[in-house]
Amino acid sequence: MLAASFCFVLSFASSFLIPLVISIFITFLISLLMDKQSTPVLRKSLLALMLIVNFGMLFVFKYFNSFSDVTSSFFAELDVYVVSPHIDWLLPIGISFYVLTACSYAIDVYKGKFHPERHLGLFALYLSFFPRLAAGPIVRVNELMAQFRQVHKFDGVLISDGLKLVIWGLFKKIVIADRLAAYVNLVYDHPSSYNGITFAVATFFFAFQIYCDFSGYVDVALGTAQILGFNLPDNFNRPYSSTSVREFWNRWHITLYAWLRDYVYIPLGGNRASKPRIWFNIIIVFVISGLWHGAEFTFLAWGLILGIFVATAVAFERVHTRQGFKKPKRRLRTFVGVCITFVLISFAWIFFRANSIQDALHIVSAIGSQIVHIGANILNREMLIETWEAVNISFGPLWIALSLCLLIGFSLFHYFQPHEGMRHMLDGRPIVVKWAFYYLLIIGIIFLGVYAGQTPFIYFGF
């Protein structure tokens, strides 16, 4: 399995193996040393060394060029001109994910939560396990290590379930996400060419594109791991069914936000602090989550906006988190909550997707002014034709119709699927229904899939 994981990394580029191997060795050795040391200062120093090496690699590969540009721009403002050095290395696959995994492991060893793994091979597999290496989920040691030690017997049901999840993930990625990507990329890469309605539709599409892209990958990862006999934690729990922004972040990229909660938010004081401090902590966590995606100002703005949304929600105490996501009593309130949350999250997605802050601001202002314009002329026939042409752009009515049909179908499916996931929706149904469902999914992948100009998984770039 370890060899397969290394081969997976090598299939992207042989150089990608180097930072992974460094991370494995450093984390493994330092964790063992920390466990043996009883002097707090020494333990702390070892932890600091481990964090510096791991985050240092992340900085060099992911942030150095942007940092260098910002520094030279800053000096240029002071009329001091320096040549900004650049590193032309590719971002190693999964580095943002395995660095966080390694750090959480070492921090937990430092805190004495468990003794470090003494088997280098098993530890290396924990960090590099290929189904989750490229884009998560970020797995804690207690979620995976014990499974590596178990003897896995053949389980046809488990394999069959894993295959179903892989098919579902591929459908989301190839049929929905890649289809929407064509529209989104065209509009967001040429912001001066389109108007507010087109931006609004592209943003709506992007909200589903990123969800289907990322959750599609996670489904493939979870399904592949399951075929091999391993269970990984899920990263999504119907996020667009959330009735508040706060709830959304308990359902979206669950393992990253759990990591940030445990290793950033709680050490900063968490909820056990003054209200302004809590708001500040929340904003810090979201800014870090934004920067984790990349060193661009757009990600920073995205994190900041989300932090402000969540902090505001907490400040007004109007967020009602539902333990176990029980069905609410008042459907209308739920519906309004879901819609408002979706609009707020989509607003933040504009900054996430835009190529620059200027583009994002242009898009926001274009959408705003267009909404006012349409609102004032809602029953005007010419306005409706103009709106349709703006939505249509080069894709034609057929393409738009197909995309909308897929989105409506997917949204209904998303809303009504049980908490346990898609596969359990079919529990207890006749075998013909189950077969028909998966048959149609595969046929859909073949005939409705977008293969030309395929976009890689978005989170592979992080």
Partner: protein, 337 residues
Amino acid sequence: MIHDRQRSSKTGLMTLLRKIGLMSILILVTVVSVFLGGRPDYTNYMAAFIDKQNRLETTMPPRIVLIGGSNVAFGLDSEMISESTNLPVVNLGLHAGLGLKFMVNSYKPYLRAGDIIIIIPEYELFYGPYLNPDPGCLGALLGVYPQARRYLDLSTMSLDDTVSMFVGIAQYKKNVIQSSILKRISRRVENTDQSLFVYSRDNFNEFGDEVKHLTAKPGTQPDTTSPIIESLEISPKVISFLNQFADYAHSRKANVYLDYPSRLEYNTSEEQSVGQLQQVLEEDLTFPIIGIAADHLFPLEYFFDTNYHLNSGGRRINTERLIDDILQRLSIGKQQA
């Protein structure tokens, strides 16, 4: 006990394999029957290739044959050229993705003594990889007109490209099925005017020019960020191929000329870089070049939907310049008149 476990695991494996096998058969039968049963979409843009071949067959020399990608289809008014030169014109421009070799090979069987062949390749076609067709593009053509395979030089196609070509055919078939289903739905839902789409066989005129775009609204915007010239290192294979073709045509009493494509001027330094490319071509090619590259660079306002597709205004100017080139350099207009 252990024996029982092994047996149950074997049974489980067999059950799983049976399920996977059955599903695979169902999918395979569906896919094969749909692909074999599906009729080609003869309204497809690539199907215009058939009309262009028919015109080649029915037009008598002396005639002007324009060879190139879609810049030739979108950017020239063959009727105007014909009126100015008193010669029939065959516009073979269709898609740069077909590659220079395929474009020329598909004309070769129709080469007649007295033909004036003007090759106007997109700039990308001067570089090595573009001598052969783009497999996806070729697949789309073969999907609608399988007979076009006779113009392929399979010996120079790699295994990867051959596989991609078949994937391209499958992709085309898939698109046909998808659009035919959607067209049926859309006909019920709304009276969609299918002729609004520029990329269709019906939108070519009798000469082989694409004309729908002269009045239609562009769907996309030209790419204003990409420079024209990749490098000055033009592929020796391209040069040698063009020179060999010119010799072949000459031996059959036809003449080959090169001209430059209409292209969006990315910035003011482009004139200089296309000038350098022109210099390289003038040194390496053994047949005449009739135009000046910089004359065919246009600002954004003259483009339709890509940086090679001129709109009506750009097309008129570009045609006038080509006519000037033909009349001045070839001095045929006067002879014919």
